[in-house]
Amino acid sequence: MNKKHFKPGNEELIKLFRKYVTFDKAAKLLWKIVRAVLIAGISFIILYPLFVKISVSIMIENDLYDRTVNYIPRNFTLDHFRVAWEYMRYPTGFRNSFILSFATSIFQVISCTLVAYGLARFKFYGKTIVFGLVVFTLIVPPPVILLPLYMNFRYFDLFGIIGLISGGKGINLLGSFWPSILLSVTAMGLRNGLYIYMIRQFFRGMPHELEEAAYIDGAGLFSTFRRIMLPSAVPVMITAFLFSFVWQWTDTFYASVFFIQRIPLLSIRLRGVGSLAGTGNWLYASQLTNSGVVLLIVPIIALYIFSQRFFVESIERSGIVG
């Protein structure tokens, strides 16, 4: 090591300082440009399909045959949106979809967070097996359990208890929100294994000192969980909530098995929008479908932007905790 390097003269120091600062500034500026270009470019790739959808939704059918019309409609119309809106029974469908998605997502996030915390922080016999089963539920292809699940809710009978009381074959829960709610409360909903895994990993990454300090101060296990661990888990929980909401909102797989067609949902109604155009008229059918897709997407984007507030708040909170 050169001693001079550590003790430069005044002039040298200024030189060094200038050199360092300008280089740093240039590097930062360069990175800003690269970042802007990258984000803009990738954003374009992501947005392009959406642009196409919106573009075909707002032009009349004849514009599609016209070679001089590219993306920007010559004859602007909102008719496709109106037709899709009416077919999807938008106000009712929106209400039903929202209630179902919101309720199941809340339940799923709560149950998954509890399970994840249990897996991350406590030692008990069979923990590895439980975690193995969590991953197992993620890998099992959904079609495999479809038929048995259907039968389960057709004659719903929790461990034979209902049969014992009423003596019947169990209750028919199909056609209601109950199957979805029951699966959510027990962390068995769509891709719940992912949320458990994700939240568990997050908890495992938290330092133990926090809880130990709380225990020493006399806090109980549950109040420590609620007051110390939960606040810093908010971003992860919000993320799980968003996934859960989106996947429930656009789900038709479970909805069609559980016969929720009886209660109009946006996702289920959307599947039929194209059929309004009649057979053979696939261009018009596509226009209607795409209008419907746009109508389905808009509320989720709004929800996402709204949820960003919680991210910012939780950083402040975790700053205190960590």
């Binding site: 990258l38 079609p143 027990t186 997050f202 696939w282 479908t289």
Partner: protein
């Protein structure tokens, strides 16, 4: 003596609390999952005759498995194909999503909008939207334009460029292939970006402040703080990426299984395929998570 007593109490308390916390899952698994799984395994060893009033099972042993593996001409071919594409795509998706999440975590103007845009793939690849997309010829045609554009760049220009650098041919083809798949990688990374972003948000800023005061550079901060803190989520994302690539709706093997069960109504054969497929996926997952989990950092 008193102290020891209290300690024992705490550990039993913790044991009970552990069971209580995971009880929703155990209950749900016993109530809704065990029977379907058992029935699927049972079906895979039987041939099913649908009657007007239910169905009749006929035990056939390993016949369904034999049929799936040696008779069905599509199953194994697509299985090998999807294993190969998963193994090549998963590092790309992981690196890409980690990079993007770090970028979106920085402060810049329009960040909220950028994040909303990067959230779109999660929506576009979900449920009814994806299945409508796959059947939509008009939008498929129009979107074909952009896929061709990005693809054309990869094979032609980039390939030539890389050829002049004297990098081994395997690596260049991997890179050109990666750029060609840019669109798929971006679309497949939505969930992972969000998970990484959530992880980055939970790293306490005080850690960075402290290390910067100690004179650490941004590069050092990244490798000494960001990377270890996020490593538990790298494992999750690897597992999710692999699972999603295997059991997602666009996977060919899944389509074959779906078709066998619901269109051809061959529950036995379909179950046998699903179970064999499940075992293959589980083995690959176990290998990958074993490799990655050695590098994961926990506060333990």
């Amino acid at each position: 003596m008193k102290f020891r007593n209290k300690q024992i109490k705490m550990s039993t308390k913790k044991l009970i609390a552990g069971y209580l916390f995971v009880s929703p899952f155990i209950l749900g698994f016993l109530a809704f999952y065990l029977k379907p799984i058992y029935e699927a395994v049972e079906l895979s060893f039987n041939s099913i005759q649908l009657m007007s009033d239910g169905y009749v099972l006929e035990f056939v042993g390993w016949e369904n498995y034999r049929r799936a593996l040696f008779v069905d001409e599509r199953f194994i071919r697509h299985l090998v194909g999807s294993v190969r594409s998963t193994i090549t795509n998963f590092p790309l998706i992981l690196i890409f999503s980690f990079f993007i999440a770090n970028m979106l975590n920085q402060k810049f103007r329009g960040r909220t909008i950028a994040r909303a845009i990067f959230f779109l793939p999660v929506i576009m690849t979900s449920g009814v939207i994806l299945s409508l997309e796959m059947g939509d010829t008009l939008v498929g045609m129009m979107q074909g334009a952009i896929k061709d554009d990005t693809g054309a760049f990869s094979t032609a220009q980039l390939g030539d460029m890389l050829e002049q650098t004297h990098i081994p041919a395997q690596i260049t083809t991997y890179i050109t292939g990666a750029v060609g798949m840019l669109y798929q990688v971006i679309i497949a990374s939505g969930v992972q970006i969000l998970i990484f972003l959530a992880g980055l948000q939970t790293i306490p800023p005080s850690l960075y402040e402290a290390s910067s005061i100690e004179g650490a550079t941004g590069w050092e901060n990244f490798w000494k703080i960001t990377f270890p803190m996020i490593s538990p989520l790298i494992l999750v994302n690897s597992v999710y990426t692999i699972i999603n690539s295997f059991v997602g709706e666009s996977n060919w093997v899944m389509r074959i299984i779906h078709e066998t069960i619901f269109r051809n109504l061959r529950y036995g054969l379909g179950s046998a395929m699903a179970i064999f497929y499940f075992i293959v996926v589980a083995v690959i997952l176990a290998l990958v998570s074993l490799l990655i989990s050695r590098k994961v950092f926990y506060h333990e």
